[in-house]
């Protein structure tokens, strides 16, 4: 796009701010195994995967205006593809398998998107994606080689050979660090897409697809790209999940799991890149904090989420940014038009 001077200054300050936030978050995650117990480390590792899951969903929703109700299907496709190939072909390099899972996720999204995105966006696309996830769920629960309802058990954490040295990911917290590194790379990739020229094209489509088409943008093509990137990233997160839990069940393709990234995004804020991150973190803290309130946990978490959504209609970050503006003496109505949406 052409708004180079303006764009680069905004990008410059955003880049510095985001890099600082990311560095702090990474420092916390890396030091966690030294200061916290295994329970918290397990929650944090799972949270890292959910952050990528949420970020990739918001690439479609917040950036491109595509609502998917079946994003979990790609998490499951990636997870099962990795676990099955790692079991059948243990000689293949794990990084190749993780990449393969991502490519498979993106390819499935391309094929599905070519059909589903041709005529339908909005609620039609949402329902089609929901149908896809239920198909994946049923296929997984009927396929004997994938363990049917019981899922795949005994998924091993692989040996990672890096030319000069080989790391056994099954030892200690090695897999946790590997997962944090992978999730960081995926998040950086998504940040780069959102803040680069492709992200600006996505944003223009989200704001007004007709005007974007009038400007000569291939709306269909870019929507497909957004869908494929989001799905590929999610598939890699799914692939990382198998060895982390050492077990996969068809539940990860269920629509209730597809609701997770939607909740994270609405909770944290749609308009900010960090929205799903804040949402997922908030959710994890709430779940962990209420884990001993047997039976009441879901009710407490649900009520708190409801309160947050009512108190901050634009998500936590949207609310904070409005609060900040009000504190600075600017009237609330001066918020950016997209925040008010």
């Amino acid at each position: 796009m052409t708004s180079s001077t303006n764009g680069s200054t905004i990008n410059g300050s955003t880049w510095r701010r985001d890099a600082l936030i990311a560095a702090v978050a990474l420092a916390v995650l890396v030091s966690l195994p030294f200061v916290a117990n295994k329970g918290i480390v397990f929650v944090a590792g799972t949270l890292a995967l959910h952050v990528v899951f949420g970020l990739s969903w918001n690439l479609m929703f917040g950036q491109t205006g595509l609502v998917s109700f079946g994003h979990a299907s790609f998490f499951a496709i990636g997870g099962y593809a990795f676990a099955w190939t790692a079991k059948m072909f243990p000689q293949l390099h794990p990084l190749l398998l993780f990449a393969g899972a991502g490519v498979l996720g993106a390819l499935v999204a391309l094929v599905v998107g070519m059909i589903a995105l041709r005529r339908s966006v909005g609620v039609y696309f949402a329902i089609l994606s929901l149908a896809l996830s239920q198909i994946v769920y049923l296929l997984l629960s009927y396929t004997p080689s994938l363990g049917q309802e019981d899922g795949l058990t005994g998924i091993r954490r692989p040996l990672l050979s890096l030319g000069l040295t080989t790391i056994d990911l099954a030892r200690g917290d090695n897999y946790y660090y590997f997962m944090i590194a992978m999730c960081t790379l995926l998040a950086i990739g998504l940040w780069w897409v959102v803040h680069g020229s492709m992200g600006r094209v996505f944003k223009s489509i989200q704001q007004d697809p007709e005007r974007a088409a009038f400007l000569g943008i291939n709306v269909q093509g870019y929507r497909l790209r957004s869908f494929a990137i989001a799905s590929g990233t999610t598939a890699i997160a799914g692939a990382l999940y198998g060895p982390w839990l050492q077990l996969l069940t068809p539940e990860i393709a269920h629509w209730t799991f597809s609701a997770r990234p939607i909740l994270y995004t609405l909770l944290g804020g749609v308009q900010s890149f960090w929205g799903p991150v804040v949402g997922a973190l908030c959710f994890a803290v709430l779940e962990y904090g209420t884990r001993t309130l047997h039976g009441l946990s879901e009710i407490v978490v649900g009520c708190i989420l409801l309160l947050i959504v009512l108190a901050f209609p634009g998500g936590l970050l949207g609310g904070l940014s409005r609060l900040g503006k009000r504190m600075a003496g600017k009237p609330a109505v001066a918020a950016k038009p997209e925040l008010a949406r």
Binding site: N37, G39, V43, T46, L245, E251, V285, L286, H294
Partner: protein, 425 residues
């Protein structure tokens, strides 16, 4: 203004809540002599399986109270720390990690085999032990064996073979059997084990071969069994093994009543729904239905551990029908108490060594945990139900205790279960 205030309040309380929950867990507890011995119970305490988790919680709580009243173990009291696994593998692993992270390395409970199989491989690295109180999958003591997992309850193979021994002995005229099973690993493994038992015990007891007709496979959690029932109505078999269990069995029998399915078959058996079918069906309880039990209190009347547990349960809950899960969770706590006493320590490795080969008394008599594959050898209980004219609508018409003499397979940890008679299995 008031709106603003409440928002600030919410944010503030959320922040305090979040910080408190995070910091609360950062502090690592350390044991000193005289401090309680903490046992972690992992069980579904919310969600659809909570009804069963509640039984496990009751059984474990009663055992802990009884032990503490008698002076504890090694002079220390026992404390039960509970965690909800929601019968979901991911939540189960999170619960086990949370327990070991908080210094609770001795765990028990677990209803779902999926959860047990998910937790098993994580235990060794976390220096923890799990004593399984219910999950019956054969894999736990075979292909997926972990040196840190023990099972004090009966398993699928011994239970289903005991059921075959029961019907082969009591119903010699019924030689043709078929089944309706859920498409799950446990569904397949239960049926294969039952067939294995039939192929051994029927010829041994009746001097002729049984006929096994191919089973009908239904979707786990299905809501419509009409096609399957219609297929069963055309079957020539006289005995029906109803492998669909729990809520699915209630749905299936509810729909089957209209077709007269329960009258068509001479014998109906169920692998382990315990009281669930009778309590849900009331007056429509299939007459003569044999159901597998983890523990049936009525079979051990007069034995102190059994009677004390039953009385404590009725006093605690007001419910007169404790499910077998109560007894099995109670047993797992007793196993720990015996092992800790024997080891003189709560150290994980020492407790593991003490559990191996442990013989101890329980609500269904003496049990022995095999050293090789960590499977307990114990009695297997069955109860027969039928409809009744009372308000309750059902009654217990008979019960059986089958001793595990030649029911369990030879220990083979790390290797898949080999069926001796059922070559298809």
């Amino acid at each position: 203004m008031s709106n603003d205030f409440s928002r600030r309040q919410i944010t503030k309380s959320l922040a305090v809540f979040g910080a408190a929950s995070a910091f609360g867990s950062f502090t690592r507890p350390s044991f000193a002599q005289g401090q309680p011995i903490r046992l972690g119970l992992i069980s579904p305490l919310s969600g659809s399986q909570e009804v069963i988790g509640r039984y496990q919680l009751a059984g474990a709580t009663i055992a802990v109270n009884q032990i503490n009243q008698a002076g504890g173990v090694l002079g220390r009291k026992i404390e039960l720390v509970t965690r909800d696994d929601k019968a979901a593998p991911a939540a189960g692993v999170a619960a086990a990690k949370d327990l070991s992270g908080n210094g609770v390395n001795l765990m028990l409970g677990v209803l779902s085999s999926g959860v047990a199989l998910a937790i098993a491989p994580t235990l060794q690295a976390d220096k923890s032990v799990l004593v399984v109180s219910a999950a019956a999958a054969n894999e736990l003591t075979h292909d997926q064996f972990s040196p840190n997992v023990f099972r004090t309850a009966d398993h699928a193979y011994s239970r289903q073979r005991a059921l075959a021994k029961l019907v082969a002995g009591d119903y010699p005229a019924v030689s043709d059997w078929t089944a309706i099973n859920p498409q799950t690993a446990i569904g397949t493994s239960n049926w294969d084990s039952f067939v294995d038992g039939m192929l051994q015990f029927y010829p041994e007891l009746n001097k002729k071969d049984p006929k096994i007709t191919d089973a009908i496979w239904a979707k786990f959690g299905a809501t419509d069994y009409k096609n399957d029932i219609a297929q069963l109505m055309r079957s020539k078999s006289e005995g029906l093994y109803c492998g669909v269990y729990g809520g699915d069995a209630v749905t299936m029998f509810g729909q089957a009543a209209a077709y007269g399915l329960t009258k068509k078959f001479k014998v109906l058996v169920d692998p382990g729904s315990e009281f669930i079918i009778a309590q849900a069906m009331g007056k429509n309880t299939p007459p003569g239905l044999w159901s597998g039990f983890h523990w049936f209190y009525g079979a051990y009347k007069g034995q102190k551990i059994n009677d004390d547990l039953y009385d404590a349960y009725v006093k605690m809950t007001g419910d007169k029908y404790p499910a077998g899960y109560v007894g099995e969770a109670h047993t797992s706590v007793l196993a720990y108490a015996n092992a800790i006493q024997k080891a003189g320590s709560t150290d994980t490795d020492k407790v593991i060594a003490a559990l191996e080969g442990l013989e101890f008394d329980s609500c269904k008599g003496m049990r022995k945990i095999r050293k090789e594959d960590h499977q307990a050898i114990c009695d297997i209980n069955f109860v027969q139900f039928g409809p009744d004219d009372t308000e309750q609508g059902w009654k217990i018409t008979d019960f059986k205790v089958i001793k595990d003499e030649g029911l369990s397979e030879a220990p083979a940890p790390g290797q898949p279960l080999k069926f001796l008679y059922n070559k298809k299995g």
